[in-house]
Symmetry: C2
Amino acid sequence: MNTGIPMLAPLQPQFANRLAAFRQAMQQANQQAALIFGAENLRYLVNYAGEAACVVLTQHSVALITDYRFEAQARQECAVAQNGCRVICRDRDQQRLGEALALEFAAQQVSRVWYEAESVSVQQWQLLQQDLSAFHFSPCLPVLTSLRMVKDDWEVVQIQRAAQIADAALAQTLPLLQPGITEIDFATELEYRLKKLGAEALSFATIVGFGARSALPHALPGTQRLKKGDLILVDFGAVVNGYRSDMTRSYVAGKADLLQLQLFQAVQQAQQAALKAVKAGVSASALFAISDQVLQRSEFGRYAGPGLGHGVGLQLHEQPFLSPGNELKLPAGAVVTIEPGVYLPNYGGLRLEDDVLVTAHGYLQLTKAPQQFALEC
Amino acid sequence: MNTGIPMLAPLQPQFANRLAAFRQAMQQANQQAALIFGAENLRYLVNYAGEAACVVLTQHSVALITDYRFEAQARQECAVAQNGCRVICRDRDQQRLGEALALEFAAQQVSRVWYEAESVSVQQWQLLQQDLSAFHFSPCLPVLTSLRMVKDDWEVVQIQRAAQIADAALAQTLPLLQPGITEIDFATELEYRLKKLGAEALSFATIVGFGARSALPHALPGTQRLKKGDLILVDFGAVVNGYRSDMTRSYVAGKADLLQLQLFQAVQQAQQAALKAVKAGVSASALFAISDQVLQRSEFGRYAGPGLGHGVGLQLHEQPFLSPGNELKLPAGAVVTIEPGVYLPNYGGLRLEDDVLVTAHGYLQLTKAPQQFALEC
């Protein structure tokens, strides 16, 4: 009964390219191997979407280590990548992970190893060290962060599909935004339609805030009921083949009053100003400044949110972060959210968020739900 | 439109008791303060359910440090705990977390600090160390793990509600298990009903496997369609006030053949044998052995899963783990899953899982969906 867009298998050459790029960076850093733990990075490098695994990568080999629970899944998924990834199934009762890693490092004759310090806990790392004293570890440079920032065509299509599903689900659910519905019921109906339209999961727990609760940047939906005149904030997304969309729309239940209209216009103008400036080469901080200037010149400057957006892909929040301090220049192929917002405590908040693909001369908008403000109630 | 069981606010005295028990352990270990990062532990200690926060606890103070995104939520939720927790809102652009921590440690005049080494990444910890060289850190003993293992009455009620919601959602969705439905559509319908009945979230991504896919211990639902004669495995749960249920049922679409019937009986007998032995004082490994013996004496011994179950509460998988190597004795008040399973590669798997509260003389079963095997199709 899923009427959504069919999901395509990823294209194999990508995976070989990603390994090649990573190996080049490893060589430049004079490292012989890398130990990768992050779930998104395992998916990116070898197409593995399960849990409880890590990857050991050298110039001439790549292996994923997991246990019986994920062995079948790992063999199936890593085979799709067609980049030579072996699957090693460890017996957790007989062999510590550190022992399995030591065997693999020794077999590959490597001693200088990059490891992903951001994806392993201090406790887990101390445990591993017991078996790994023969090897020299240093924290991995953010190579995968940089690689993953530039989406290839296949990745863009996945985010686009996730955005299309979100647009369609919102259009189907919007008529339910009538006085009396609770935040949680609207969220449940929206999530149901996302799934029915083909989302494999939700990008994150859907945010729905009515009235003053719309000012809470991360409000989980509650039993609050919609009243005529309430501001409404809905922030949600779909996942397709691991890739996420992220969109916010703000509404008013019925006719907007003057203050609400001014809020909406200020935020919409801030978003438009930022969008106009999006293209490869612009810095993250410059984009923020452009949008923030519009808000600071409005009546709501002191209530403006402190960031403009973030990269989105396998992770919901990834580089480039569109924040005041980030001098990173947006590359073509980055997918970012543009989401200015204004939050008046105890009154309400208003945010408009779209996902755009950065191109050489501008951008391609991926989320397309209309920015209608006043809802007929 | 949520017709589910209403959610109660937690009882305040619990939170004071938890802090007192933790402080006692801290003192016995000659530590003056503790730095807690784990989301479940923050919820357990100060009722905070958001993200991006940590708690600093001393003998005479408790403070939660977060930033603007979660400040309002933190003030509201920590106030409920009524155990004196202050909320410190850090400006992320002006102050590193390490600086905020150093200020708090200095203000509380402490230098020997426990930290949760399992809940902080190597990278994050190295960053924090830059500002914290004046303090002596040692990894926290698993005090919270032990405390959280014994559920108080309020916690048991939450898990019971989560189990009741799961039972009711399954009963409502079961009629849809007819030839032609896909795994993903059944999962979507089940999840929708969980939410409508009052689940604040899903315990985990629902597992639905038809036919041979039922043998994959952690199969995500796909587009496989149900055929008459297929084995069916459904593993899912609801969350209520942060507490999780976890239940598996196995079915056959239509009349079971002899092999399927033998599989079902072996697993059911293994579960019954384990349940009969559940009571305070029995060791985790002994429970596993009792259940495993039944499976080893059946025709399916070599296909038996290597564990019997796990504790469940704020985390889906927590102590006590019912595994061969675990000599821990089950305390009264533990809530554990009893879930023997048999998995025949390329044929199918069968698992029965229930959540039970361990009592002085036996157990109280929390999940109650009938263990019906053959579905009318």
